[in-house]
Amino acid sequence: MRRALMFFVISSLFLSGCWDQRLYKDLAIISVIGVDGYIGDIKAYYAYPSSSDDPTQYIVLDGKGKTAREVRMDANNKSEQAIDIAELTTILFNEDTAKKNLYKMLDVYYRSAQSPMTAKIAITDGSVKRYLNLKETIPKEIGEYYLDFIKSFEDYSIYPKTNLEIAANLMFSEGVDLGLPYIKTSGKGLPQAKGLALFNGQKYTGVHLTQRESQFVTLLGHGKANFAELSYLWDKDGEQIPVSFSVIRFKKKKKVAQVGSKIKMTYEIKMPVVMTEYPPDHLNKKKKRDPIEKFIEKRIEKDMAKMFKKCQDAESDVIGIGEEIRAYHPNLWKEGKWKELYKDMEIKAKVNVQIERSGSTR
């Protein structure tokens, strides 16, 4: 009897988890958060699914307040359930919010042991409210939609892989800057990926790259993900010819030199491709392939030069050239003054394209 009693007394201690139990029925499981405004005057929107039968149905709670936590408390007052962000998939920030100091807005998520570090972050063109009022158009659960939307661009090497952890980490790195998906929507239409929002430290510079430029940033700074596709229109002898291809491999070598007070960096890129669109055909002949390869090389070099210029003008080292310089050319690195050197750098790309396959036609 005494033993049984002891057993029950001791076993009861194992119920200690009950203090921390959180039942699904008591919680509003937030999947997307949208943030407008800045510390002192923040407005946030919290979207969570409202029906277990129809995942496209969701409720948006809004909250106002001076701090991120106060906003959440305000939104909480408008729901019979407690807001829980343990399954958060995406945080959307208004571009004006990001222009101030994004880390201060992210800290509330980064510091919490409950929030998932795998949540995606995106910058929106205009108020985030529009991006959460898409009940009729979004084909699946809103959180899942935004997560898959951003992931698909990561898979196609258009956006570098980013999540809450990576974003917060990069905001503290001097040698590499953060780039976040920049999305846009018109009216009730589905959101579109417009490019990559360039950051300088913890602030959005107000400049975003185009999708193509963003793809070059991803390939140069982070390497090819699952796929990388490009498409150009070749104006040849007055005729417009579509030239599309998939990148098989993307190999780069970096050469760094000091020219006077400037740093010169050259990327030597080797890029075997598979042609996915070329109506004139006859790609089995070398003399046909050579001019196409030259055309692609020239176009990519030109686009990359534009991308480098845009990044330098915005003082955003989103490719991570600074890290490279600090690690392997420390004599050229100046702690705390990298951006001054970066914006005056001469950055070039030399591309070597080889058509390795032509698809199922010649």
Binding site: L13, S16, G17, W19, N169, F172, G175, G320, A327
Partner: protein, 344 residues
């Protein structure tokens, strides 16, 4: 106490004693102390500890604790136990149980340790074996972070200052805190189980590779300026890894760490038990109950951020006095005394 162990059991106990408790937060401490060269400093510190272990093996016969030195060690180990349980409880509150009162989870952990401490020695001797498979699982999951690692973070080398090297080396050696357990347990190794240079090298290599791996992964993952914002970098890395079978990998491995730490805690208690019961004692259970009660009283009221930061910033100061100065004074003193007795 009558028991014998094999050399494999000895090294396993030492491995879990040293790595348990600290491994989720240790990389941050050494990186902040040693700067960019922290990972090299760690390997240098490990080399020093290797030679220390080798000297231990040569002199362990002279490590005989008198009444006074035994109580010094018991006192130090109680302090280590209190610091360890505070660290475990604080992290439990941060990562998993925000609302559960300290007392409940403290009592639970101490009850497990108490049960181990009054069981036969074979219980604690064999407990580390259960964790071995999880080490490999843990390493495999950490390898999932490879795409996010940047080799650039390790370079350039040779940028740490003299001060960083000094402090970094102290912190590097502190990764092996608890090594004095070698001297306590060495006498119980079966006489036919000879410990060779190769055995010590293998042990030191395995522990160095394990902790070194954690230090390098942390260094390659975090930007240097981002690290001070994070307290337990290993858990943060695990938290950022996506897997399909579990939503939060960090929580899964947090409990692994907790189990690992309780075993490490039990091994410190085992050291106290060996030293305390070296002299014949009337009661077997009460001293262990009192020990756990002291740890409970010593920790329950001070589980807060100030104490945590104090522990984080000062734990490395324990290594040199407890693992270096004190054992060598004891061993050299006893050696000298024995040689004088032989002369007489």
């Amino acid at each position: 106490m009558n028991f014998t162990i094999t050399k494999v059991q000895l090294f396993l106990m030492l491995f879990f004693r040293s790595t348990g408790i600290i491994f989720i937060g240790y990389p941050e401490t050494i990186i902040l102390a040693g700067g960019r060269d922290a990972w090299i400093i760690f390997f240098v510190g490990s080399l020093i500890v290797f030679f220390q272990l080798w000297i231990y093996e040569k002199l362990y016969k002279y490590f005989e604790l008198g009444k006074f030195t035994a109580w010094i060690y018991i006192f130090i180990w109680i302090i280590v136990l209190i610091g360890s349980i505070i660290y475990m409880q604080y992290n439990l509150n941060i990562w998993v149980q925000q609302n559960t009162p300290h007392t409940i989870s403290l009592v639970l952990m101490l009850l497990i340790s108490f049960y181990i401490s009054v069981s036969r020695p074979s219980t604690i001797i064999n407990l580390p074996v259960f964790i071995i498979p999880f080490i490999f699982i843990f390493i495999i999951y950490l390898l999932f972070s490879i795409p996010e690692l940047s080799l650039n973070h390790l370079f350039p080398i040779g940028t740490s200052t003299g001060g960083q090297w000094m402090k970094g080396t102290m912190v590097a050696m502190a990764a092996f805190t608890g090594l004095e357990g070698y001297l306590v347990l060495r006498k119980y190794v079966l006489p036919e189980d000879k410990i060779s240079f190769k055995d010590i090298l293998t042990f030191q290599l395995s522990i160095t590779l394990f902790i070194g791996f954690l230090v390098i992964v942390t260094k390659m993952y975090f930007a240097t300026d981002a690290l001070p914002y994070v307290t337990e970098p290993i858990l943060y890395i695990l938290k950022s890894i996506e897997v399909t079978f579990v939503k939060r990998l960090d929580i899964f491995f947090f409990f692994l760490w907790l189990g690992w730490s309780i075993i490490s805690f039990g091994l410190i208690v085992f050291n106290i038990r060996i030293v305390y019961f070296k002299q014949k004692r009337k009661h077997k259970i009460w001293p262990m109950a009192v020990l756990h009660l002291i740890v409970f009283i010593g920790s329950v009221g001070i589980i807060n951020i100030q104490v945590m930061e104090f522990i984080r910033n000062h734990f490395h100061y324990f290594y040199i006095p407890t693992t270096f100065i004190l054992p060598f004074i004891i061993m050299l003193f006893n050696r000298r005394r024995k040689s004088k007795c032989a002369e007489l």
